[in-house]
Symmetry: C3
Subunit: 349 residues, 3 copies
């Protein structure tokens, strides 16, 4: 399917510079694009590739326009404009409405006739699947689950009993929603399982990455609010709440009963202790260890960038004798008749 | 199903304070409970919610009893008592004994007639499934696997060839037991796969969280002893041994041939080097990097709590010039005629 | 199947010391071996077990031969020689060529008659499966995927549309190749999904561990070159490239558009920022946080080994007051009339 550049400009509200009759068939990278292809420039890192692009058109912002050798769409948000054009030029395959004959569907499940339920899926009793949902191959939807309109379970998604999923939410392969929370009561040297009786509520327009897991609540539900985006291999424990439009990169863990605010951005590999509260609009950088609540919006870190290993070992050795170094400074201060600053005189434990 | 408070007191050995005829139908949180509901107080963090609870009864310890506005069960271990009552009031669905017609069962597999084998499961040759096991949808049980009584594979669990699972063990969705260990021999700049010929032995009363993986041993078996509890997204490498009643939180990695003792508690995101031995009764806090063996019970750490990013960058900058700071202190000591402590005079590599 | 030691020596080019007629039936560990069993010694850690071994023969290098109490094969690379002998003595089950009747195969999929396609698999339209492939139970191969010869999908592997897998590559259970990359454009406080239109190219002789995920590229493909070995629970983001014969241990995350060189060795739990380039022959130790490009071969680190928790808390407290300590040293220098080294006089942000 080809679309004229002029039509894209009108449709997505961009300023057109160049021939409105240029036909665009698909998207490509600045470096890789050729005739009939549309590229975009959003990350300044790639600006050097602009002058040499052979794309038929480029989406970019006004500041970059002067360097563009070809037709262009000028947008105040070129990445979002690109995303919309890419979705137009590369639409997903249309749904094949109906239930595949190899699916195992319990009596009493309600499946909208416009939904597609793929091969070798299992749909439990009392499940409700709304219009235009896609339930990909090997997915399992346990009893009482509710899917709102246009939910897309790409493949092999497991939804435990009574999980609720909001409209347009997308789940990548291997996602597990509603596994048991990790609750055990210590008793005479062993651990007694605490029944996990809550479920999971996932809002609308959420995305959940491959092999990410979200556990069911112990008594009440674990909650993922609207617009949350979770990358792959993330662990959300029981009774966590993730606020609307928060985005979390891969390999993050959030321990039980923690609440993360709205519009937060969490870097890869970060970890959150249990039973803490993180405010709205918090940014956490990669690998940070969030051990207590964060009350104000801001940027928070704890990971330490790498060094060449020999230099790193020297740093670690110095780190490990910091108490000794502090003692040497104290001795010097005494010898010099300088007073040690009061705030660190006491015991630090 | 409703149960009288008096009956609960007798059955679980609690002291009853209040009307023994109060009927309990389900459990709830202190803050959310209403009539017919039983709450509990175990974590002091929630003590402030006790006075206002509308629960019909509360399980708590003697120290908290004075603040309780309603009927109560006084227990020396309120969390364990709550767990037992919750299991009584909210029993799991009874098994539907038998093999689902869509299951693919190899000739020669032994399945106890009281077991339930769910839809779209695959059971290999020589498998033995004991009484009252539950094999959830999409599970795969490869050749020669043995499940003891009352094992519960919630859904989509993969058990590789010859894996053995002890009684009452529970596996959440997405678990993989018996994938190949990561063994490769370097040879002329490439890596030659080393056959992974061992299997995995999992004890009784073990729990394995969603998408956790436990690799098969290279020659002998990887071993998870009785009562171990593993959270989600944990990686247990080949030939590891986890001692009985050890509990490991999410996102932990344990490298090959490492042995962790009994009754250990491992925080989320921690990591263990290979070929080390960790004693019994060790506590490892979240994100700690365990690089060598631990010979004595105790608490061990290495993660650094976060700071506001600007402050953190200042700390990292200072950390990176620690050798320089130490040199400045040495120069001051020389100028002051103070002797540098001997133990750090040498080269630290 | 038993093989004579003399035959092994000839076949694998080892020096034989001892009786060539000794029959070997299987492999075992040095400590656990008995008659008919072959052990190996490659890791010096296990050298103390050599003298007492009851193996019928041992594979080892010339330096260890003097301590060996039994017949032996002397090899310059005993681990690789062991791997080859183990594969000979313990061959995988032969393929049962053909498509299982419960498999769901789209019209137009090309499956070589020598391939085995297991139960409850799903094969999409336009898929091409070459000779001697094994597609294990519950695997899903979406439209247009190409498998070269001898690919082995152990079980429950998901390959998204248009993924290409090279010859002899092995994927453990739960692997997801070709889930959507994590791409969202910020727009007025929400996140707009950016279509992920690329796919994933995986080379020959690659191994991918259980529950590891490799996302499809945004526009162009994510690339895993020949001979790469990935352990379990690794996250490879969109448009990453991993160079040939690089080996990555478990729980590592690599963010989008990062390129890792050839023959690198990456320790468990390490993390890579996005849009960086790592040179060939780089070693990264466990838990290191790689925040920027690495231009030269070498060893790089950032994790800090653990301490007993009380000592650790003291270290962290000192770390957090490093700016204060530096100020105290500066005051001492001023009092002593020593000049502060210039390179750290300025603002460090």
């Amino acid at each position: 399917m080809a679309v004229a550049l002029g039509e894209l400009a009108v449709r997505f509200g961009c300023e057109l510079r160049g021939d409105p009759q240029v036909q665009l068939e698909r998207v490509a990278t600045l470096a890789g694009a050729g005739p009939g292809e549309l590229a975009f420039l959003a990350n300044p890192r790639y600006r050097t590739q602009l002058a040499a692009t052979r794309a038929s058109a480029v989406v970019l912002d006004a500041a970059a326009a002067a360097d563009c050798p070809t037709a262009m769409l000028v947008s105040s948000n070129p990445y979002a404009t690109y995303a919309r054009i890419a979705a137009l030029l590369h639409p997903p395959a249309p749904l094949a409405a109906g239930v595949h004959p190899s699916a195992q569907v319990a009596a009493g499940a309600q499946i909208d006739p416009s939904a597609e339920v793929g091969p070798l899926t299992v749909i439990g009793p009392g499940v409700s699947i709304a219009a235009r949902c896609y339930v990909g191959p090997h997915s399992l939807i346990e009893a009482g689950v509710v899917l709102a309109e246009d939910v897309r379970l790409v493949a092999r998604v497991t939804l435990g009993a009574r999980v609720r999923i909001g409209a347009r939410t997308v789940m990548q392969p291997g996602v597990v929603i509603g596994g048991d929370g990790f609750g055990f009561a210590p008793e005479r040297g062993t651990w007694l399982k605490v029944p996990q009786l809550g479920s999971v509520q996932v809002g609308a327009d959420v995305e959940v990455g491959a092999n990410t897991t979200i556990d069911r609540g112990a008594i009440e539900d674990t909650v993922i609010e609207d617009g949350v985006k979770l990358d792959n291999l993330i662990m959300i424990a029981h009774n966590v709440r993730i606020g609307a439009h928060t985005v979390i990169a891969g390999c993050v863990g959030v321990a039980g009963s923690t609440s993360i605010g709205r519009r937060c951005m969490i870097g890869g590999g970060a970890g959150f202790a249990g039973h803490i509260v993180v405010a709205d609009d918090v940014v956490v950088t990669g690998y940070a260890m969030i051990t207590h609540s964060i009350e104000r919006a801001g940027v928070y870190s704890s990971g330490i960038p790498f060094e060449e290993a020999r230099a790193w070992r020297r740093l670690v050795a110095r780190f490990k004798r910091l108490p000794l170094l502090e003692g040497r400074v104290r001795a010097l201060e005494q010898a010099a008749g300088l007073k040690e600053p009061e705030e660190q005189g006491g015991d630090d434990e």
